[in-house]
Amino acid sequence: MESIYGEHLPKLEEIRLEMENRISKIREEIRENVGMDTIEHCLSRIKSEESMREKCRRKHLPETAESALKIIHDAIGFRIVCAFVDDVYTIRDRLTAFEDCKIIKEKDYIRHAKSNGYRSYHMILQVRGAYYVEFQLRTISMDTWAALEHHLKYKKEIKNEELIIQELKRCADELASTDITMQTIRDMILE
């Protein structure tokens, strides 16, 4: 079977690498200027054939390159995990400053957490008028929370589901509070 990305796969890979390099450069630059690493880790991927087809079906779209590259915007995806809350916004500002990229969509789930407690900064950039890249930016503790919540989503038949959802929300709110506390402490140290 032909790839859902058609002939575009090498190009997608090229853009993923280009973005990865740009992020490494930003990271290096900040490290030289501030003496601290803002990015804890950065992961990127091309959405697998299988999940892209599954997503098309879920959205009632034909399984074509057009759907995968033009309508769906997360064929290329980045997750950037930062040390502190302010770092998330520093990196966001650097990404939005790319001159050959256009912001298609921004969702700040840090300022407005989802009702289950999920926090992250989501952004879709369009590169040189063609390909789309999705970025998820968050702190280490937001990432930890999301990892645990992910397990819950894929485990069926959970006992006391209501209670667990409520407790996860509490954890998210406590972690968010701690994130801010640590940010304040860092500010005070750097003052």
Partner: protein
């Protein structure tokens, strides 16, 4: 609502308890101070009435003991008319109110109502101010978003909220919140004010705390 009525005169106790039960209170009785103390440690009460003059242990001793073990149940003391010193000692030892004997039954009932009303309002109440809500039960601070506060942050914000728009001095706040911790300083307070300000803005509230290190602080809304 559950009460403890501690009074060594059996006739008085019987008469009062009959009226209290009629008013819908669930009443336990004690006839001396030791019995009262035992019951208080064993059971939870919504309010306690203690006669000062009781055998084995007087009312003030019982009161001091229960406050020392951090029991905050409202206490009404029954005192003899002439004993001003008893009343002062009793209030200082942590009583919420007193009534002199002989008393009118309807005054006792009114004082019990007032005392338990204060308690429920104080304990169960969520504090709200402008677009902000602070939950007493779980320390949740919320506006458009929500976070959980630590105990000290909660106590500090609660004090500021209960005195919203009024300037409170650093020394007053330190005394209120860090009373047991002499090592806490103006810097400690300033750090906690900074935490709270960042958390207020993280929940996207219009409320913030004005003031600078070592001076007075004032909670206001920019709405």
């Amino acid at each position: 609502m559950k009460l403890l009525f501690a009074e060594d005169t059996h006739d008085l106790s019987r008469a009062v308890c009959a009226v209290l039960a009629h008013e819908g209170y669930e009443v336990d009785t004690a006839f001396d101070g030791e019995e009262a103390a035992d019951l208080i440690h064993k059971n939870g009460y919504d309010a306690i009435v203690l006669d000062i003059m009781m055998p084995k242990k007087n009312g003030i001793e019982v009161l001091k003991e229960l406050r020392e073990s951090n029991i905050v149940t409202p206490v009404l003391l029954l005192t003899a008319k002439s004993e001003i010193d008893d009343r002062v000692t009793g209030l200082d030892a942590g009583a919420d109110d007193y009534l002199t004997k002989p008393f009118a039954m309807k005054e006792l009932l009114a004082r019990l109502r007032a005392m338990t009303r204060r308690r429920t309002q104080y304990q169960g109440g969520d504090l709200t101010y402008k677009d902000l809500m602070l939950k007493e039960t779980n320390f949740e601070l919320s506006s458009e978003n929500s976070v959980r506060l630590s105990i000290k942050e909660f106590e500090l914000l609660r004090t500021l909220l209960m005195n919203a728009e009024r300037a409170l001095s650093s020394s007053y706040l330190l005394e209120q919140i860090w009373n047991e911790e002499p090592e806490a300083s103006e810097d400690t307070l300033w750090l906690y004010i900074s935490y709270l300000n960042r958390k207020l803005s993280a929940v996207a509230s219009s409320v913030k705390i004005l003031g600078s290190r070592g001076e007075s602080y004032q909670l206001v809304s920019e709405e």
